[in-house]
Subunit: 339 residues, 3 copies
């Protein structure tokens, strides 16, 4: 009996979780991405578990492909998502995992099948991450089942090869900016404001905004320096306009100035009220962040000089230099006063 | 005694938390943004608490300004961050909160002052979010303290006014694309891969990538439709190349096709190994997501037609239409087979 | 002066945080698991700090046991949770941490004591994670205090030995169960342990485990009652075996007993080392959670009677009834003693 039980757990798996406010949009619909992430978590666990059931190299199952997935019914906050995964085919070097997702309203008892998905995993050795390991065979309920699995395997294999070629073509060489220019390191992110970002009254916490700003500025600095960079200071930040729940926030950063020891990045936050679009996009916050670059022992490294292009960049560099010199003078004055 | 106690808690506050892998970069340095967020959480609590200590409208303290903040020492994963906040000045309509951050290594007992910050909050009525309410007075230890606070208040007030004007100018009207064009709704985000995004062996979970893709595609759809949109399906996705810890991931989405009932969005995922830059940026994944638009009762709404510009957009629209018709035919065939 | 200061920080600690939407259910009640996790974070910091105050091996305090914890009042989104922890007893190889939780409504100023808890930690060497290190002594305010601590220490030691044997039974799946049966409401979830769930040394925080346990128990209770349910208490929990990074954790819950006013749910935590499969799956923790059911105004509702099937369920029900009656008697005795 317990043998059956443990075989069952080896080749099938159930995950469930209550859907929380952060899993959904402001209307309460759970994001498709939340469900895809749960599906893949189940697939990764069951795939890794199966590929380690026989002796040999330890390995981790890597997602190679997800078949077309339909979202049949919406899921809502407060419902429980049940994800069941099962290994349904094993080739020499890959496994197919089929997944079903049900939503359960635990108050009314109503359940709905919301998704069916099929994922392909390939096991990679943990000793040498470029080595694909062998997959232990599975038992099929009938020869027909194995046959059908094989057909699905061949079909996806062909499609993967095709898209591999297509992908190569897609990688059009965008007018790649030169290293150390402002264009090379400039970065931006968008963030859909969620419930946990906000105060009870639907306004984004200033701290959430500053965290996003530091994230973008840090990426700009790392792209310029290609080293471990850390925040050294933030200039005064003014929050002129509030950002509301349901906005999309665009946070952009560009290098403005670099001394030998530090670089300054200007960050802009723009808010876009997605649904009440008549309110229009507006600039909510701007700020200057300063970063330093560290080596592996945590010692400061010199900052690569910036390559400036155009009058705007030159002017912003001079402005940054002035801020830099003012701050330096202020620090010295503070030090003397303290002595 | 208990009176003193409650006054003490009213005007000062201590927050502390262990720094986790997700709070830091891959070298273990805690992000400046994590610290700024904790600082602001302390300020928001103490500011809101103080502004509600006298009768009158209930209000929430909104961050108006953060003074220049220096990061004196780095903080590391596993250390405890202690944030102490205190109200140090109150004008009629704003409070100044001063915050100290200490890092504590609980293994060695070593502590360091890592930050000093000053934040200005303005209380807004909860009944009418456009009304600023009055701030209760605080008691100063000495008249000199009040005097100095007033100076800081006047100085920051002037600076806020100045930047308000400067900000207006900054809002250069970017060559704004026309609504319903591809350019209008296209969106992209960057994400610095963190420890929680990865398997034990340092590769990004496929589910994490799909969640980011759905996030960007959802924003494209919402920008086009300006309604509540939900994921209807995802075409097969192939994961040709792994994404490693420490990469910056750029996820971009653009509308490719819209029928009356649904719209298709193409999503690209590019990985950029930030530090091992010699490996170069590469395209890791691409996929097509399909969305539908819903009204407030959850009923489908028609999708606004796309305004196409140029041959590329036209060609991608035709390709999308073919995928749409193929899927429709397949769904019908599946239905018939099941009957 | 500074001596007093540093003693104060060494043996006591305050944590506080605003409760966010994700910390609560859809009605706005903060999950018991969120509070248990904060309590354990405070205990872990103060315990680890104390055990490293004298020279010798560096060590990390691991949660060994949580005494029975009552949830006296509900907490809501937007309130600030204040957690204060203090070391109250030290044996040669363990420390007792007592924790108080207060909720503060920062708009009205109202505060409530919501929880009192006692946790036992054991320090493990960081060089050799199987070695328990010695705990530095603490100073007691009076000899009576030490005496009482010793009694609590002996009592929990005996209980830990007893429960060590209780582990072992597994949940059996039931096919399409009838409402109000144990099979109908029983639930389980699995969780892949990630970096943020763990201490610096790769062991899952006890608070993370308790949060998962409360999540499953809450689903069982909601399935049975079909109403808004809240955690009323948690029986003493013993953490017999550590859970490592890279494990898959399965958390299962089943109803054991229901009175008119509350229901008891037994929760099992099994750890499965995904990759080092030869280590085998093991039972890490078990516990009993008690829930009450509330109507929309927050008033208690009667619990639907359980339909018992088979001898095992009957026996567990009787055992649960005994625990229920014992706790009731203990509460009454405590009340009388206080009058």
């Amino acid at each position: 009996m317990s043998g059956t039980q443990s075989q069952a757990t080896a080749s099938s798996l159930q995950i469930c979780r209550i859907m929380r406010p952060d899993d959904a949009n402001i209307v309460g619909n759970v994001h498709g991405g939340t469900i895809l992430k749960m599906i893949e978590e189940a697939g990764c666990i069951i795939g890794t578990r199966h590929c380690n059931t026989q002796s040999g190299d330890r390995c981790a199952a890597q997602l190679a492909r997800v078949e077309r997935t339909d979202f049949l019914y919406p899921m809502f906050i407060g419902e429980v998502a049940h994800v069941s995964a099962e290994i349904t085919y094993a080739s020499k070097h890959s496994v197919e995992v089929q997944v079903h997702v049900m939503s359960e309203n635990i108050l009314t008892g109503a359940t709905k099948m919301t998704n069916r998905a099929a994922l392909w995993y390939v096991p990679f050795s943990l000793k040498n991450v470029d080595n694909v390991t062998e997959v232990p065979p599975i038992k099929y309920a009938s020869p027909g089942q194995e046959e059908e699995g094989k057909k699905r395997y061949e079909a996806q294999k062909m499609e993967r090869l095709e898209t591999k070629e297509r992908n190569g073509e897609l990688l059009m060489p965008v007018s790649a900016p030169e290293p150390y220019t402002v264009g090379f390191s400039q970065s931006s992110l968008i963030h859909l404001v969620g419930p946990s970002d906000c105060t009870l009254h639907g306004f984004v916490h200033g701290g959430v905004t500053m965290k996003l700003m530091d994230e973008v500025a840090g990426i700009v600095a790392a792209r310029h320096c290609k080293t471990n960079i850390v925040t050294a200071s933030v200039d005064a930040i003014n929050f002129h306009r509030k950002i509301m729940k349901g906005c999309v926030v665009t946070v952009s950063g560009r290098a403005t100035f670099a001394s030998n020891k530090s670089m300054e990045i200007e960050v802009f936050v723009d808010a876009d009220p997605l649904i009440e679009a008549e309110k229009g996009k507006y600039r909510a916050v701007t700020a200057f962040f300063t970063y330093i670059s560290l080596d592996k022992q945590g010692k400061p490294l010199p900052i690569p000089p910036m390559k400036l292009e155009g009058d705007g960049e030159q002017r912003r560099f001079e402005d940054g230099k002035m801020r830099y010199l003012q701050n330096k003078a202020k620090r010295l004055a503070d030090k003397e006063r303290q002595q």
